[in-house]
Symmetry: C2
Subunit: 601 residues, 2 copies
């Protein structure tokens, strides 16, 4: 059978672009994208994307050139997920919560040729571009000798800027000459999209929201994006004609692939500029939303919404709105609250490097018989690999052998499959660390339960090693989340003169109008509560209360920041033991300084 | 980004084998395969398949060797869909309804190394093997010179035969030494399945049930099988934990990929030796069946079942049993009947060369508002391409240009995508006919409706050309099916001295206990009925009644046979016009002869 050859008819490159051409053929008149007063059909979206792609080509955008975009979840952002690769280019969506400095770093590192900027972000983009110009000027002044090895800071051509004005009520705000709608309007309606010959060609470049170091540029192939999209539709069982609400930023792993997935399913995208409770509830009711993804922080927004912001979404005959969430597992009480509002939650685990979710907690029918509390525990597990992941395992950190499936033995979660990134852009060192022995190392620590479901215990760097014992910070946090007054909890390692490390907890409390003293919670009460429920060595030695825990732009708690603070507590404790002086003042100052530093991010 | 390289972690071959290893990891204790008294779990199925694969390797089965199997829908048949490719070999499932001669032809053409035979088919298999031996003997007697160009008939080593005894109550029937369960039992439980390095490697070889010529061997790649499996789960929206009843033969395009698909979904396979109404109803109730595929002929079996054979499957709170069907679109009345019994029908279109269904009639929610009759018409269309099909089109037979999307202009349906076969095995001529201009030519004639849905009008060879007008035989048949007394209808071309061709109808009638003359239907009544509803040139000139229409083993009406008969009618008409003799007797004889010939198939 060796003489049976691949040809155009039986071997076509896997690319999400076929989802759009198919949607245009099969669902031509169905609503594709809705944003307030604007509605497009799939035929229109296909037409607009082809026009935009042709305009990009007219700007001399060539294959594998990077096109960056700084925009919220608006129709233009959606369209670029198809239009940019249709022109053969690579889409780089930038986190809108980054500051100008970080944006400049990404533009420089990605060598972006074009930079689309939503009108709301013009000022931030201008600052970023100015920094790049200043850098270039500095370079040109013969400063090269000062830092000859720093390739990052060599001069580079600034990207061409295209502003995206508001599609519903144009503002006239500009940054340069070009505007998005103009590009679409003047595009060639007969443009034939670039034919993707090689499915191992880059489609997207996403910078991780690294909290510890320079952001890393994760590159996806057409093949990887295509297969991950299929996996997530399958894993979440998203049927045809979904109405998908964009509560998850599209710049986050390309919206966990649902940018492409909604086209694959012939669904409708409902765009949102912000995740204000009022807008979410209003759009759900207005458009009969069936699906949405979000970080757990959006649960708080939904639960804590004022009565005037809420709408009743539990309508008879209508199934609940499906929510796919990732990150920290929502505690049972929160799950119960959110589901009573008319949502149904599925928990997933993923990372930018895996093109979004790599594991989904597939529900098993028999679990419906269990008590609520047990159901919440099962639901909080990260689950089983998505279908196009070839394999998942948990390996001993030292020996790299598979751990026992006992739900107890911890190891590093490793993945393999065509949905894993092509690699980090221009970062060979990170690539060799990430790939090894045929696996992608996630850096997350977990266990496998006897039923094959994985549960994450920690980021490997978040494990606390106290007197030789491994403490899962997630385990301590889970207990803290069960405390009736706790809203957010994070536990990190704090250097300890005797045990090496010991746990330190940071908490924010639920808002409570009743501020009487008996409603306050103290450090010693929390410690006593932990003592009652945890082995002694796992009990936090220090508990600090904050208004809000520091988070990355994607809603993850920044343990890196907390760890820095925890370090200062220990310094103060050490000082205390030596000087018995005003140590708490030192700690307090440090928190203030850190929070100030974060607010600048 | 050119230096980002494929590695084992981020580029794994797409193969359905990963569905089984994943099912074993994620759904270890869930029922995988049930057959009467026997139930396996996914962990057991994985174990059994690995053992069987190791036994095949021990028999010196090497990569790309062909392993044939002649068996009904039993657990062994299911297991071989994984075990054979796990050994690196290619699975060839043989249609059990073929006669010994055809089976011998397939064994010879495929050069099968191993031949698994279910105990029920031992006698047929013995006959086939004897024919092969006789052929070999004839060859050895120096008869080569007689037919030197006929490569098909060169001597070849007979395959090693392994009998599959009944797993529930062993019969002891054997054909040679080896037995299936023995192979499983003695296999190596620690066997590491062959790692598929190249997804463009063959996994299956399926011979088409060609009615006109030698069967053609269609080869599937691992990649094609994998992607088609995902397409069908998605297209049919088969959620997790399906309970799938095997009413479709697994030898038919590997059960339209659901052999692999049920593993992908962690579902349960319910095996069936026959499609007797009693067994179907009993298993549906016993195991809470959720899904089944079948040819439309099974609808008749379900509808015409005696009261004693039926079970009530419309239980409260239970959704209907999903049926995916292909081939001739079921008429509205039949759809209504079958759905009132507790089934829900989805219509698909496919062919062996496309790894089963290539189009699925995706239901649109807005259609629920339409009258029943219109819904049935929409449901009878073949629909839209499955998700992993890269493109579908309908092209003018002469110019090969796309036809207008007007629901009227006919053209040939062409497909492209990685789910299309690798090609026909040892048949370069057929390959060059099938592949051309970047498309696979289906040989089916259809139209595209303005909403993008395709509808098949005919096999290109079934189009009747009468006085220069194209007549879709399917269109005439649809009308005939609407007649209250018609059970089956087939319309074929009959040579006509004046018009070139004219339509000839073959009908079988519904069983009716009331045999009074007024319940009989005559040829002239049918012709009058057609005249009232069709343009004159489309009205059948001759109508013949048969007890049952001749069908292929997969339930397709054999138009080839009917065309032969129709030819004889014309001869008789010609005779009639010349001699005015007993022409109908000639026609009658011809039918009898043909039916006799068919009963021997």
């Amino acid at each position: 059978m060796d003489n049976l050859r691949k040809c155009e008819a039986n071997y076509t490159a896997l690319t999400p672009l076929t989802f759009l051409s198919r949607a245009s053929a099969c669902y031509a008149n169905r609503a594709s994208v809705i944003h307030e007063g604007t509605t497009f059909t799939w035929a229109q979206t296909y037409d607009r994307c082809r026009r935009l792609a042709s305009s990009l080509r007219a700007l001399n955008i060539a294959r594998t050139d990077v096109v960056s975009v700084l925009a919220p979840n608006i129709p233009a952002m959606y369209e670029m997920h198809f239009a940019v690769p249709m022109a053969g280019a690579v889409l780089n969506t930038i986190n809108t919560r980054l500051d100008a400095k970080n944006i400049a770093t990404i533009l420089r590192h990605s060598e972006a040729k074009v930079f689309f900027v939503d009108y709301e972000y013009v000022s931030k983009a201008r600052d970023a571009l100015r920094m790049l110009m200043d850098d270039n000027n500095t370079q040109q002044k013969g400063n090269n000798g000062a830092n000859p090895t720093n390739q990052q800071h060599r001069a580079f051509s600034l990207p061409l800027v295209i502003v995206i004005d508001d599609i519903n009520s144009p503002t006239g705000i500009r940054l340069g000459e070009l505007e998005y709608e103009q590009m679409v309007r003047h595009g060639n309606p007969n443009y034939v999209p670039e034919i993707i010959q090689d499915e191992w060609a880059p489609i997207a470049l996403n910078y991780t929201s690294g909290t510890t170091s320079e952001p890393k540029g994760v590159v996806y192939s057409h093949r990887g994006a295509y297969l991950s999209t299929l996996s997530l539709i399958l894993g979440w069982e998203m049927g045809s004609e979904p109405v998908y609400l964009w509560t998850l930023p599209m710049f986050h792993c390309n919206g966990w692939t649902f940018t492409w997935g909604v086209a694959a399913r012939g669904g409708t995208n409902v765009c949102l500029r912000t995740t204000a409770a009022r807008d979410i509830y209003r759009n759900i009711v207005l458009h009969n939303v069936t699906h949405m993804c979000c970080a757990p922080i959006v649960f708080n927004i939904l639960i804590e919404a004022k009565a005037s912001e809420r709408r009743e979404i539990r309508l008879k005959g209508k199934p609940p709105v499906e929510i796919l969430t990732g990150g920290a597992p929502p505690p049972a009480s929160m799950l119960e609250q959110i589901e009573s509002l008319g949502f149904h939650v599925t928990h997933a685990y993923g990372l930018t490097e895996a093109t979004g979710p790599a594991l989904v907690c597939e529900w098993q029918k028999k679990w419906n018989m269990l008590p609520q509390e047990e159901q919440a525990e099962l639901k909080a597990r990260q689950g089983v690999s998505v279908l196009t992941m070839a394999d998942v395992d948990v390996k001993n950190l030292e020996t790299m052998e598979s751990v026992a499936k006992d739900g107890k033995t911890m190891g590093e979660i490793v993945l393999k499959g065509s949905g894993i990134m092509m690699g980090y852009y221009k970062n060979d060192e990170a690539n060799s660390k990430a790939f090894g022995n045929g696996w992608f190392r996630t850096g997350d620590v977990g266990v496998i339960h006897p039923d094959g479901y994985l549960e994450i215990k920690d980021r490997s760097k978040d494990v606390i090693i106290s007197g030789g014992e491994n403490i899962s910070s997630v385990e301590v946090e889970s207990l803290l989340y069960k405390h009736p007054r706790v809203l957010e909890a994070a536990v990190v390692a704090m250097p300890h003169p005797r045990w090496g490390e010991s746990p330190c907890a940071f908490l924010s409390l639920k808002k409570n109008n009743n501020s009487s003293p008996k409603n306050q919670v103290t450090e010693s009460e929390i410690i006593a509560y932990c003592r009652k429920n945890l082995p002694h060595f796992m009990v936090p030695k220090v508990v600090k209360f904050m208004e809000e825990l520091p988070k990355t732009s994607t809603g993850k708690i920044q343990k890196f920041e907390l760890r820095l603070m925890a370090k200062s507590f220990v310094v103060s404790e050490n000082l205390q033991s030596k000087k018995k002086s005003s140590s708490s003042q030192v700690g307090q100052n440090s928190i203030e300084q850190q929070l100030l530093a974060m607010s600048r991010l």
